[in-house]
């Protein structure tokens, strides 16, 4: 058993880098998947809608922990051998894609139908109608729940600890098991998570206000 030293606190701060990087890459990956899922889910094609629904059900209906496990160890059994970093990014992206897809689907569908119909009457096809009429309005509606999910995603990255990825939570567990100072260690970690999530919430409120002005009707 050893005492906590200043290097340990630096170790935690540095581990937070991995939490940030993992959150960012999962958000980008999940965002790309989410856009596809939301568009498929709102498409008029029955097969596309069914595929999107199946994807969402699969990833919302099983625990993220298990998804990470399957990507990490399953890849080895299939002969791919993905490392912890790729596995964690892939697992979190696949999962985030399902949730973001559903959030954005809801946002797209809550834009009044008359807007779509008016655009159609003006002769706009599906893509320009989405791009110029529906999505800008959906964006405003989607901002708050998207940031809410992102805050959750930051905290979900702690699950990557199970596949041996040393991010903030795992770093804290290691220090706690070496020093037996749970309150100091976990309090520090809680503060670090708060410092990561709080600016997101503030940024979201600003963005919402700006978009509200931009799309005032």
């Amino acid at each position: 058993m050893r005492a906590l030293n200043s290097g340990d606190f630096l170790f935690l701060v540095l581990a937070a880098r991995w939490t940030i990087l993992l959150s960012l890459s999962a958000f980008v990956g999940g965002g790309l998947i989410g856009i596809v899922i939301a568009l498929l889910r709102t498409s008029s094609n029955t097969a596309a809608r069914a595929a999107a629904i199946a994807y969402i059900q699969l990833f919302q209906g099983t625990p993220l922990l298990l998804q990470l496990f399957l990507v990490f160890f399953g890849s080895d059994l299939l002969g791919l051998a993905l490392g912890p970093w790729v596995s964690a990014t892939l697992g979190l992206s696949l999962n985030a894609g399902a949730f973001l897809g559903e959030i954005w689907r809801g946002a797209i569908q809550s834009v009044p139908k008359a807007q779509s119909e008016a655009a159609m009457a003006l002769g706009l096809h599906h893509l320009p109608r989405m791009r110029h009429v529906v999505l800008p309005q959906a964006l405003r509606i989607a901002t708050a729940p998207t940031v809410g999910f992102l805050v959750n995603l930051v905290k979900s990255t702690s699950l990557a600890a199970v596949i041996g990825f040393v991010e903030l939570t795992r770093a804290a567990q290691l220090l706690n098991n070496a020093t037996f100072r749970p309150f100091t260690v976990f309090f520090t970690v809680a503060v670090l998570y708060f410092l990561l999530c709080w600016p997101l919430t503030i940024a979201s409120r600003r963005l919402e206000r700006r978009l509200a002005v931009a799309t005032q009707r």
Partner: protein
């Protein structure tokens, strides 16, 4: 982790997956490195030092083994619950991870002859009258999830005690210190050190639950590699090198280890 076992069995049965290839000592020599899974959250077997690098008895044994083998040792941190999947899927070549030798585990992996032992003891308040397992009846007993003491006490006590499972050792010690459980079963060495440093808590060791010999762990059907590992353990037990590492970390004499 149980779910994972079924999923893996399913993938293997479907022919989708190939189990990690068997390795001989020559394969490892020609690769020039050996990936060794170590725990880094069970001091003093495996922990992180004041520079946050892996350190401990297991880490020193891994490096000693690398010296005799003449290859580079790549340490891969694993946890109690994920060490078996890491080994079986080939993410590490062997485990030097305080892994207790049991017939149950030997169905999935192979063990070298014991290179270390871990003493499991029951800790509780000084005022509590606890001298044997049956005294734990009716009490809240904390254990780290899935560890040998979890299995042992669950089998011995069933529903007569409220067994509470924690994620790691530190949480288990803390649960007793903050009074969430009445007793815990944990590593004797660490528990004594920890509770002796905090006499105001009034906690002490009650009795030794078991002495568990640990083996270096490898995938099944690798007679060739196992033979070398056994020879390594035998040799360093005889020449005193293992004992020297033991004394460095435990400040006590090397325990007498059984062999098989």
């Amino acid at each position: 982790m149980r779910i994972l076992k079924y999923v893996m069995a399913g993938l293997l049965a479907l022919g989708l997956a190939r189990p990690a290839a068997a390795q001989t000592i020559d394969d490892i020599l020609s690769k020039g490195t050996i990936k060794v899974g170590v725990l880094i959250d069970v001091p003093p077997y495996g922990t992180v030092d004041d520079k946050q690098q892996p350190a401990g008895y297991d880490v020193d044994v891994a490096n000693l083994m690398g010296k005799y083998l003449g290859v580079k040792v790549e340490l891969v941190p694993v946890t109690g619950p994920n060490r078996l999947p890491f080994l079986v899927t080939g993410k590490v070549d062997i485990l030097i991870a305080t892994f207790g030798i049991t017939p149950e585990r030997a169905k999935q992996v192979w063990f070298s002859i014991p290179y270390s032992a871990i003493e499991n003891a029951v800790f509780a308040k000084k005022s509590a009258k606890i001298t044997q397992v049956s005294d734990l009846k009716g009490l809240r007993v904390g254990v780290p999830r899935g560890a040998v003491q979890d299995v042992l006490l669950t089998n011995a006590l069933g529903t007569t005690a409220r067994i509470q499972r924690f994620d790691d050792d530190a949480s288990t010690y803390q649960a007793l210190a903050s009074g969430q459980v009445d007793a815990i079963a944990e590593t004797g060495f660490t528990g004594r050190e920890l509770y002796n440093k905090t006499p105001e808590l009034g906690l002490e060791q009650k009795f030794v639950l078991l002495n568990q010999p640990n083996g270096i762990t490898l995938r099944k059907d690798q007679t060739n590699l196992r033979q070398w590992l056994n020879t390594f353990v035998y040799y360093t037990k005889n020449n005193g090198e293992l004992a020297a590492i033991w004394t460095k970390w435990f400040h006590s004499d090397f325990p007498t280890l059984p062999t098989f």
